[in-house]
């Protein structure tokens, strides 16, 4: 029979073997190269993240081994068993092989049980929630912003961090080396608290309270970890950013003291003087009805915001200068109500008015002061 493997030209075997070796060499080279690093999660910043990373590495090792084995077999077969002009008779009609089939059922079963045991052990560490954490923070997610309520040991609110990112002078500050417990709360839709360098996310589900613990590694003091909402929560989903700011205990204590002092301070007085003009602005379905406003230079003016959305949706009208700096930061107006914001005199120029809760194009406009 011309189909007997021994009588085939050995060139096929050489080619197929070379292709399999080539596959292995390429995969290993990629894994060892700089590009190979992108196949791993970013550096783990917390105790839980380190555990998850260990588990990832185990799964990854099995994945690479299985990929090379099966892909190698496919590459070998495709090159080795091409039909040649001499192949007129049928190849051996193999219908199966019991021992082989039992083997490739049993070995994968053992592998997945091993992987399950590893993940189960890691899960118990990562999911553990301490009754006595060092710091308790309630992260409140709303379309489309995060606020962080710092709680004392009895669950009473100490102060609220309303600015969620460091760029805007905020962020969720935490001391390194301490057990932080985050309690997740949503009043509207489902969100997810996700920080890539924590290798962790947890859904923020209205109607239920999720908690998780983490401890930021001591050598991460001074670092800021960008996170964002990971569960689609509406049009502004992508702008729901947050920063976790890691501090030394001393810096953190000072920060807490300052935040408590701020919370107890009397609010700044409203700009005095009668407004020279009152502008009308309506917000509906998270969109301003006007995107161009004009106000006189060097005189106080006012904007009346009519928020026609449902009560859960808050808006405001902040004013930014041409460089993007916040000139006026106003309180929120809840849905179904209206509020008149008073603004102090502004020099002539072009400004941006923007809803800080929904800073996307539909809720942004140009304020011309002249």
């Amino acid at each position: 029979m011309s189909t007997s493997p021994r009588q085939r030209p050995s060139l096929d075997v050489v080619l197929a073997g070379a292709a399999v070796v080539g596959l292995v060499v390429i995969v290993v080279a990629v894994l060892l190269s700089q590009a190979g690093k992108t196949l791993y999660p970013p550096a783990a910043a917390t105790d839980s993240a380190i555990e998850i990373r260990k588990l990832y590495d185990i799964v990854f090792a099995f994945a690479v081994a299985i990929f090379l084995l099966v892909e190698g077999l496919i590459v070998w077969s495709v090159i080795r068993y091409r039909r040649k002009p001499t192949d007129t008779e049928l190849p051996v009609q193999t219908h199966g092989h019991n021992l082989l089939e039992v083997t490739w059922t049993v070995i994968p079963t053992i592998i997945v049980i091993i992987l399950f045991v590893f993940s189960f052990n890691t899960l118990n560490v990562v999911d553990a929630v301490s009754p006595t954490p060092d710091v308790k923070i309630r992260a409140v997610a709303a379309q489309f912003q995060w606020t962080f309520e710092y709680l004392d040991s009895s669950g009473q609110k100490l102060f609220t961090q309303t600015v969620s990112t460091k760029d805007n002078g905020g962020g969720m500050a935490v001391p390194v080396g301490r057990k932080i417990q985050v309690e997740l709360h949503s009043n509207d839709v489902i969100h997810a608290f996700y920080v890539p360098r924590f290798l962790f996310k947890r859904d923020v589900v209205p109607g239920m309270t999720n908690r998780f613990d983490f401890t930021v590694n001591a050598d991460e003091a001074g670092q800021t970890f960008r996170g964002q909402c990971a569960e689609l929560c509406g049009t502004g989903h992508r702008i729901m950013l947050l920063d976790v700011v890691a501090m030394t205990q001393a810096d953190y204590d000072a920060w807490v003291e300052q935040m408590i002092a701020q919370a107890n301070a009397t609010p700044a007085p409203q700009p005095s003087g009668e407004p020279s003009v009152t502008l009308e602005l309506t917000a509906k379905i998270a969109e301003f009805d006007k995107h161009e406003l004009e106000a006189p230079a060097d005189k106080p003016f006012a904007i009346t915001l009519d928020n026609q959305d449902v009560p859960a949706i808050e808006h405001d009208v902040d004013i930014h200068d041409a460089d993007g700096n916040v000139v006026f930061d106003e309180p929120h107006t809840v849905g179904g109500t209206s509020q008149t914001y008073l603004y102090g005199p502004l020099p002539a120029g072009t400004y941006t008015f923007i809803c800080s809760v929904h800073p996307f194009p539909a809720m942004t406009g140009t304020l011309t002061v002249k």
Binding site: P5, I52, V78, Y81, G234
Partner: protein, 546 residues
Amino acid sequence: MATHALTPAVTAGYRGGLYEWLTTTDHKRIGILYVINSFAFFFIAGLMALAVRAELAQPGLQLLTDEHLYNQLFTMHATLMIFLFIIPMLAGLGNFAVPLQIGAPDMAFPRINALSFWMLPLAGVLLLAGFVTGGAAAAGWTSYPPLTEDRPLASTGSGQDLWIVGVVLIGTSSILGAINFLVTIFKMRAPGMTLFRMPIMVWTMLVTSVLVMLATPVITSALIMLFIDRNLGGNFFDPATGGNAVLYQNVFWFYSHPAVYVMVLPAMGIISEVLPVFSRKPLFGYKAFVFATAGIGALGFSVWAHHMFTTGAVFLPFFALITFMISVPTGVKMFNWVATLWGGQLTFSTPLIFAIGFLTMFLIGGINGAFSAAVPVDFALHDTYWVVAHLHYVLFGGSVFGVFAGVYYWFPKMTGRLLDEGLGKIHFVLMFVGFNLTFFPMHMLGLAGMPRRIADYASSAGWNDWNLAATIGGFMIGASFVPFLWNVFVSLRNGKVAGDDPWEGNTLEWATSSPPPPYNFDHLPEIRSERPVFDLRHGREAGGSH
């Protein structure tokens, strides 16, 4: 039979005008209508994906500055791809192949068969109508409440309601089709066609139909509850009025995870037809393959909550264990396919090339799924682009490559003409390279923390390069359909005449003319094994014993 394929007879099976196509109850014509309809929605949904990829190519909002429209596009991309392309495309190929492969003259209920089909274009129009009634559904194809109950910021207009009605209609069509397949397979097999002589394609359609029949009513109820919540003041899923948001996810995924197998098992069936034919060997481990298919079907009902690991409302160890276990029967199939190639005589016609594309890509889709089965790793990967990579390696690398293997394989049987091999190979190379360029970098994006379903990202996030690569790949995939469509166009006119059995097939459809007559068979060959046409060609002894 072989002398029957004279050139003039090539299209004789489908003579007749538009009216006959619109009123047909012939399973072959209905199958072809399914295929055409599915491709139409495939191209619409594909264009939506290209718009999404174009927006993501660079940081900053360039193309889709209306982010609500962006959300509508990715929502409808997934909805159309799942409900109006992959599921009906496979049902259509099954519709064409199953009666032929079991030696039946038609499906058991030809009129119900036509009804199942005609619900699909109607549902498609309803789904798309959202775009002109104030915005299509925009809360993702999963449509999680309470977001879907939140009219101001997610589902303006009636798009979400149209979406619910459209998907319920498609579900009804699927249930009717599933019952039709089950009755056909159990009651209409030709004499000698015992269960264990059925082609694997028929087995996978059988298990798929069981999944559809048991799971689809569950999502239908979830969607009706959502509709009541939205329109009649119900409070099933909105915690603000005493509902439970996670309840929807449980009910939704109870269908939608088995739906993954609905989208993959028939593609596995196609591969299991193509690999033996083009390697001139029987499928290795036929019975193991049948049991693995049934095993996947059974376990497939116990893994739904692995889509919900991060909700904090799932009994994690159970669902993690079953999710790991379901990879075992899938692995068995992979080894069976490779063993089928092993020692064979491989002819690299386009169907085999797409089948091997399926093997290599579905392998990656299986392996990267294991990462999410390890629950703590899923905490890192869930809802990031890693998941987008995973699901596309399964549903595109798996199902869609399988679909094209099937289209190239059965096109000559459907039309009497062969597709051009050269254009077919250009199609494959463009699609294969484009596919990997699009979806492999998404693993890296997900690991680097890029969430799904965002229209924009900061240029400082470090996601720029891989996003650009993915966009280039996406347009390459888009370009790959130019040679495909051209191929269909020219081959229908001037393609090589196929004859009854251009591939030296194994199964009964190759024992009749191409295209087959309305009643399918003048006479059937003896059925003594799972390869009756092979036995006819080479003699029963040549087939070897089990």
